[in-house]
């Protein structure tokens, strides 16, 4: 469950630890920690849902996010929107028509790179639930400081001094960009360079997924 980091200094992500089947009442669940940031995700589906919410050709995906404080806010809706769009592009919804799939995320600790941790945990929980997916996705976050240096998977101290933070989500088949969102202001070249760095770093995350899946399944790995 624990993965060792790559020896290359440039592509160092914080240590990731994961446990699947963490919750015993959901169809799939995962708790993932990246450094000190922790999130737990539970996936239920395909479920029977009300006639009004049913969609004839595909599954209806519903995402619920709850923050540590418990009080709902607008930022939560934004996170739900991002996670929902990412998961929808990954899940083969056409195989589960007229059903619903629910993804629930609970924030446990936020020490930088939180939404990336949530997205990775979602992917692991979806794999654990056994839902048919087009591709898996990996999220990598990075921060750009005043001098233009790019730091992957930043810790809170680095986030304080950064001028911009970015998170990119790549898919496993062609490493193309699925989702991206940024904070702060930066130049075009910084954006492209950060995207390329994160693209290469996503390999580490995909390797981590493979390790986790092989530990939990009897046939693969």
């Amino acid at each position: 469950m624990i993965t060792d980091n790559d020896e290359l200094k440039d592509f160092k992500l914080r240590p990731m630890k994961c446990e699947c089947n963490y919750l015993n009442r959901s169809d799939g669940s995962a708790i993932l920690s990246q450094g000190q940031t922790v999130a737990v995700v539970s996936v239920n589906g395909p479920l029977d849902i009300k006639m009004q919410s049913q969609s004839i050709g595909k599954a209806t995906l519903e995402v619920l996010f709850s923050s540590k404080g418990g009080k709902p806010s607008i930022g939560d809706r934004y996170k739900e929107h991002v996670i929902r769009q990412t998961c929808e592009s990954a899940i083969l919804g056409c195989l589960y028509p007229r059903t619903g799939i629910t993804v629930t995320i609970q924030e446990l600790e936020d020490y930088g790179g939180f939404l990336a941790c949530c997205l990775n945990a979602c992917c692991l929980a979806l794999l654990n639930a056994g839902l048919a997916m087009r591709h898996t996705f990996a999220a990598v976050s990075c921060a750009i400081d005043e001098q233009g240096n790019i730091q992957l998977d930043p810790a809170p101290a680095q986030l304080e001094t950064s001028r911009a933070t970015m998170t990119f989500v790549f898919e496993s088949r062609e490493k193309s960009l699925v989702t991206a969102f940024t904070d702060g202001s930066y130049s075009d070249s910084a954006y492209s360079e950060a995207m390329e760095r994160c693209r290469s770093a996503s390999d580490l995350v995909f390797q981590f997924y493979k390790q986790i899946v092989s530990k939990y399944s009897y046939v693969i790995g």
Partner: protein, 285 residues
Amino acid sequence: MSEVYKLIHPVKFFNDYISKNVRPDGRSFSEQRNIKLNVDAIKTADASALIKCGNTSVICGIKLELATPKAEEPNKGFLITNVELPPLCSSKYRPGPPSDSAQVTSNIVSDIINNSKCVDLTDLCIVPDKLAWVLYCDMLCLDNGGSLVDACIITLMASLKTLRLPTVTYDPETEDIKVDTNVQTKLKLNGLPIATSFAIYKYMDRNVTLVDPSSYEEDMCGGLGANLILCYNKGFLCSSQKFGGSNFSVDCEEKALKIAKERAQLAEEVIDVCIKNYESKTNTV
């Protein structure tokens, strides 16, 4: 006849157009709709602007209020932006509290304004720890024809540019506040963020990038609003959001960045011309 075809085979209807390199409303893939901008239409608001971009109409009204600054930030004023998507603008929204899409759009617009740092909150402070301006910027969508975030940002920037703050005198002993509306100062703006929306559609084996999508194109590309929003602020990117739609490759991205940069310059010119006309009219009157 084409209306019936659109309902029965929506995907084939759309694909027929895309295969001929044109969109259902007749534009090419990178053609943008014309922007029509008008400022100071609403006299009860302290500043207002109305934009009409194709079918999308958004009106922004700014109301000024006074309040005590927060204890942890005593020399900063407040800038509160909210986007409202009423049921009036589209049948997708029902009456009641703000829907999820309204909250998400509000969040995106608020993030863009905060990231670009175009308004320095310390400028809004009158007396540290005692009195500061609160700018309530409310964007109301009158007609949702796609590319909402673009329209909201342009109209917000145009209203901020025409906003004038009245002078306030504060007597520290009596805590008496006097506002003089005859002497007004312009709000200082550092930068002018302009957003561009794109929709990304997967046609056969290639990805097609549609600039400035209409609401029909946004629906065909997967739902809630534009897939890619790039925001330029004087040559620097201040926000890039991508969700949904199809996956994005590197060359599409470079093309999109170039188009967004050009659009930012175009929109900036439109805003400048509009405000110059407005100011010359108010100076002569």
